[in-house]
Amino acid sequence: MKRSSDTRPFSQTLYLATMLLVIGIVCGMTLVDYQNAEKNLRDHQDLLENETEINLNNTLHLIDSGLKLFDDTMNVQMEEGLGLLLREYAVAGGDPERMDLVRIRREAFRDKMDIYIINTSNVIQYSTYPPDLNLNFGEDPVFASYLDRIRNTSGFYPDRVVREPETGILRKYAYAPTPDHRFILELGLIGDRFREERQRLKYTDTIQRIKAVNPYIDDVRIFTIQKDQVGNRQFKPDAELSARLDRAIETRSGFEVFDEPSGRKVRYCYVDLYDEQYGSDLSMIVELAYNTRPLADALANLLRYHLLVAFGALGLGFLGAALVSRRLARPIQTLVGDVNVIAGGDLDHEISSSQAEEFRILTSSIMTMVGQLKGTIEQLRQHQANLSESEDRYRRTLALVSDYAYCMMLAPDGDWRLVWTAGDLRPIFGRTSEEFDHMGGLPAIVHDDDRRILERHIEEVLANRPFESDLRVFDRDGTVRWLSHHTVPVCDPADGQVVGYYAAGQEITTRKRNEVALRESEEKYRQLVEDANSIILRLGPDGRIWYINEYAERFFGFGPGELLGRDVVGTIVPEIDSKGERTGDLVHAICRDPEGHTINQNENMRRDGSRAFISWTNRRILGEDGTPLGILCIGNDITRLREAEEENRRLNAELEERVRRRTEDLRQANRELESFTYSVSHDLRSPLRAIDGYVYLLLHEHGEGLSDRQTQYLDLISSNARQMARLIDGLLNLSRAGRGVMKVQDLDPSMVVKEVIDELSGERHDRNVEITIGGLPRCRADPTLLKQVFVNLIGNALKFTRGRDVARIEIGSRREGEDTVYFVRDNGVGFDVRYAHNLFKVFSRLHPASEYEGTGVGLAIVQRIIERHGGRIWVDSAPDQGATFYFVLGEVENDGTPVVE
């Protein structure tokens, strides 16, 4: 699968996408969840905080209410006291100086209450409690304003039980402005310790409860706005705390301080218990020290948990993404793979199907496409094949005709650049296409005399008219060639612009030459006809003379034109000739049907009536378009020839008669010879037989009484008689060889030779004889006679090799020109070739009979036979070098010599 560096596999993309998705989802979810959880936690915490604070607030309020109630219980007591004090003031005439506060305290209040008198400057001018003397409430704006507010009124204004800042003793104060509004009388009741304790416990309870409810709270401290810690009388705030408390007091609200290092959050709640009815502000500040660590831990845990889950989820997600992406991508990959294979050229590759519908559609679409593609490819291939075939044919055709035809495409500009040529230009132009183009095409090679023709041709063509011209060009070695050149402008069908010139042509040198030759020939012909020494007529089918040449007119003794239009019969052809033949009819027949009488001879007559014998050749001639041009009759005067023929015939007849007679004589002679031979053989042999017989009987039946010499003589008589018999046989053979019917047939000489060797095997008995038979081609001969030839030749060979240790005889043939020369060769005693001319004569012998027996007729017989076959025989030898007899057979047919009766 190819993978470019720029593109990623789909599965990867899918995977990445899925992963991203997963990551996104997981992260998002985690984040959201975490945030939610965090928020929840925080909210929870906040809620708790709020709850706590509210709770706290409520509790403190409740406590305060309780306390208030309790405090109010002392109101009566104090009211009475203030009432008393007012009376005392009145008694004193409004001058506190005159009051004995200590005594009042002691007597009226039994030392339970302290008296204070606040002037208009809000300073405790007079008091039974020396520490508070000259205490300036002006320093407390809130209280100061309260005092100012009540000063100009009248009434009883109780205050809350508060703790003395200095001593920490609880006191309840009450105020009553003097009627003259110059002073505010104040009483301070000392609180109940029990109550103190209880109060303290209540607060402690609250704290404990709060701590218990809210796990985040590390510590709770409750401070008065005097910066005293409830439950811890000795407490003194440090600077920082003091500052914070100040802040809370001033703002009358809570705030939060985050202590970075320790990670503690300290919230300061301002519990506003101020009741304007009372002068004292018993508001409290609750310091809640939150340990953010639990939260932080919880958050951290949460985070860890979330991260863990997130990772887990991511892990699973990645896995899932991987699986999903692979699962999703697989069909695509498979599809891709399959399509790739198809793209690689295997159009028949099947695409594996997938479950998804889209894939199925895709698959089927692709298969359809592939199918169409295959179809198109097949079509294209077909087209290509057709095109190739067509191109091939075209090429082959062009190649075939390159010898005499050419075609080329020329560029549309005036330079006549060659755009292409089909085939080779060399056969006609003697130059390759490149050379032709380089030279400048036709104008460069045109014959000077035809230059004007070419110019005209170019003019016409440039004017968009196809043109054709015959012109001459020179080929490479200066030979003149005639061309029939056509040029056609080729236009672009779209806009009609000329895109080139298509030029084609053929070499017509031969045609031109033929035309010239024809003209010349026609001229010559005319000349010939006119000057001919032959009688030339042209007759119409009716026998009228359409044309007669001058010679004929003269021959027949007529004047020029005298015979034209006249019937040939009656003018130069007699109606009936000297022998009585109806020549007129014949000639009319010829005129009607010249094909049936292409050659004839008949008697003609001259003007003066004399006769001549003419041999006519008659032919119907037609024009090029088939119009009959008459019957052409060419005649030769054969009068003399005729006469000679007659003479010849006569002589031949005579000769034949003579030959017949001679043959008859010969036949007769032959017959006589036959019967002579016949009787000779018979009659000559019988006495010899008698001689031999009686001698034998003499020797064998009466031989005891004979002397050696007598016996010897008798033997001689016998042997001579036998010799004579052999001679007679030889002569008979010779005679038979010379006459008798030759039955020539096609035969295989080697069969004859083998037969002969077989028959002569007796001669080879007890001897070392090597006979080699070479190739003996078939020949035409009389089998019997040919056998006789080989019997004699091989027999002789055997005879004359008797003296050799190994007799070597070879029978074979060789070719000399058209003849087959047969030979029989031996390694025998040989002879002096000077005497060879006698060899074939009858009874001639070159070796004494005492050494080599024989009649001396054998070779004469062989020669006679060979001669009868139209052949010849000759011999080569040297003394002691063996001898080779050669012969050729001529062409001969059965001579048909009749059997002698």
């Binding site: 053989s681 018979h682 019988s686 037989r689 031999d692 009987l697 016998s718 002698v900």
Partner: protein, 146 residues
């Protein structure tokens, strides 16, 4: 006409040359068959013997060159006769001409033997003729009652 067989006329020798006859008989002598030979000196005599006398030899030895009636004529007459045609005819002639052979066989000769010139060969041939045609060869007569 049928006449009783004569033992003396087993072989009918038709030969005109007295020397040949002499020699032939000499040879038959050696085989003790001399008495079985009847000689006819020319064609007419042979015909008379066969057709007039009615002799029935077991074998006829016939020379071709005969006076009065030629050997071939005799042969023809013999082989044309319904009865005599069964008699084997040995043509015994000096001629080795193919033509003579052809005609003889054509007329129905049972055998053609060329007379050798050399006597030893001649004698051998005669002996063989006697042996073969007398002893070895079977003839229809052998099965008829004598």
């Amino acid at each position: 006409m049928m006449e009783p067989q004569s033992w003396n006329e087993d072989i009918l020798l038709i030969e005109d040359n007295p020397h040949d006859v002499e020699l032939i008989l000499h040879v038959f002598e050696w085989s003790n068959m001399r008495d079985h030979v009847r000689v006819a000196w020319d064609g007419q005599e042979a015909i008379d013997a066969l057709f007039l006398e009615g002799i029935r030899p077991r074998v006829i030895v016939l020379d071709l060159k005969l006076p009065k009636v030629s050997g071939l004529e005799v042969l023809r007459r013999i082989k044309e006769d319904a009865v005599l045609r069964e008699t084997p005819v040995v043509v015994f002639s000096s001629s080795a001409e193919e033509r003579d052979l052809a005609i003889s066989y054509g007329l129905g000769a049972n055998s053609y033997i060329v007379k050798p010139v050399e006597f030893d060969r001649f004698a051998e041939v005669i002996r063989e003729i006697g042996c073969y045609w007398q002893m070895v060869n079977r003839r229809p007569d052998d099965y008829r009652s004598r």
